[in-house]
């Protein structure tokens, strides 16, 4: 299993659009990917629950990746957060 943490910089937080993009990105991998913030966690491939975390600017998120392509997924997702959130 791999994990990384990231602090959200986007002023509106993990709102619908980046959440949608994250779901798409996560869908490119077979690994199980979860996003945890403020003691709650959601699967990165499930848009409603992901938005339901209500992640705001300044919040720390921990992204956990487990599966065959976890190495590639970690790299791609870390880049995604950096560029979009």
């Amino acid at each position: 299993m791999r994990e990384f943490s990231y602090v959200i910089k986007d002023p509106v937080g993990l709102h619908a659009r980046p959440a949608g993009l994250l779901v798409k990105k996560a869908g490119e991998f077979t690994s199980r990917i979860t996003v945890e913030s403020g003691g709650k966690s959601a699967e990165a491939k499930k848009l409603i629950m992901l938005m339901g975390l209500g992640i705001k600017q300044g919040a720390e998120v921990i992204c956990r990746i487990e599966g065959e392509d976890e190495e590639a997924a970690q790299e791609a997702l870390a880049k995604f957060f950096e560029e979009n959130l």
Binding site: P11, H15, A16, R17, K46, L47, I48, M51, G54, K56
Partner: protein, 538 residues
Amino acid sequence: MERYIGKSVMKGIAIGRIFLYKKRDYQVTDQKVSDPAAEKECLLAAVERAKEQLTRLYEDAMRNVGEDHAAIFDIHRMLLEDEDYLDAAAGEIESGFNAVYAVDRAGTQFAELFAAMDDEYMRGRAADIRDISQRVIRILLDLPEEDICSDEPVVLLAEDLTPSETVKLDKSKILGFVTVKGSANSHTAILARSMNLPALVGVDIPLADELHGKSCVVDGFEGVFLVEPEDGELSRMVVRKNQWVADLEALEKLKGQDNVTKSGKRIDIFANIGNVEDADAACAADAGGIGLFRSEFLYLGRDTFPSEEEQYESYKAVLEKMEGKKVVIRTMDIGADKKVDYFGLEPEENPALGYRAIRICLDREEIFITQLRALYRAAAHGKLAIMFPMIISVEEVERIKQIVDMVRKDLVSEGKPVGDAELGIMIETPAAAVISDKLAKEVDFFSIGTNDLTQYTLAVDRQNQKLEGICDTHHEALLRLIEMTVKNAHEAGIWVGICGELGADTALTEWFLKIGVDELSVAASAVLKVRGAVRALP
């Protein structure tokens, strides 16, 4: 000819045919089905069709209104792919229910999840979940997709419009909007302002089918909606419409110009706004800044106090939209005609003279402190000025400054980023105008609120229509108070603006410049008109 009255949310005149937009209501009933597997097939097929519709809507919207507005359909399509949502619906079917009921249940369940969140943006997402569920249900019930299409441009008449309805409108096919429900902040109103089309809300008209296709006039200046206007009325409206279009074109040419008279005297012209979206209108109108941001919108139409975080986000959003231009935010002016249940205010004999605005803030400091914390945190993101309403004494200002100091120190010690802000007061009571020499030594600026200053100076209730005749906004007493306030401000070396209706009264523009007013803050729609008046002066 039939004549209806409504609240105008965007000025202008539209003449054309009515397009009656009616939601075809359906009923959801729970029925037991014998073959859940077949029912599930129906559900999945309907979801697929809904996704196809959304893909098409996304592409249409990209062409018509651009990526910003189109993205919602892409999100809707992805919501329909959400496993949890589909599992919830499938689960209902497995327990023996019909697909329509199952989707309705799943939609309600997830909409409630968003509706319960503490973030305003996320609460708004409940409407998206309902939207996608309705789309699938319509397909299951074999109802036509809700759509507005017409070959010629039309006046859209509807009960009310939701965001996903407004966004898919083909802009070139709409002349104006008339809705039965809705408010100045409804989606219809926001869309109408962004499209610069006349719009009326709250028009009490029964939506009978035969209205569809009838000729009509929307008069966004007078708040009047005419159905099948008589010839005489129609030709008068055509004249007014042509005048309006000519005026608009003339104003458009003033964008990017300075607010300066022929002899080189200049004045700032800022905009008054009432919510975050209004800042877009202020930018579009080329306002030099925001001279009055009424913060009441954060408190109205809800059941609990707005949190510091929520306020911070709103203030910050406006400061960022204005890109370094000055933004004057007025602390909350609740009370008088703006009542909010959760404040627990008691009914008053004389609300205009009662427990309102800064009087509440200095009595219930926790409300005030929350707002000040949000303001000072937002100040780090732009050029903020804070203004306090309903001031009558130097003591009030001293107390405010003590609280402000405490709030700033607390924020700094908590390690939160804090910005600087000018501190100013509204001059809207005769008391404040009369002692403006003393008050000027305490603050960085004055803003003269002429609406209340008129009603308090003349002892005329501005909401009593019978008194309209004697409510003289050019009364000598009022003008003397204004002149005195400006003089006292300048003697103390501070700037002074006008933020009431009078600021946009072009009969007084020359006089404002003569007495040395530094800034006029007017409705976004009046910025260019006032600029034109300034530039026409010798």
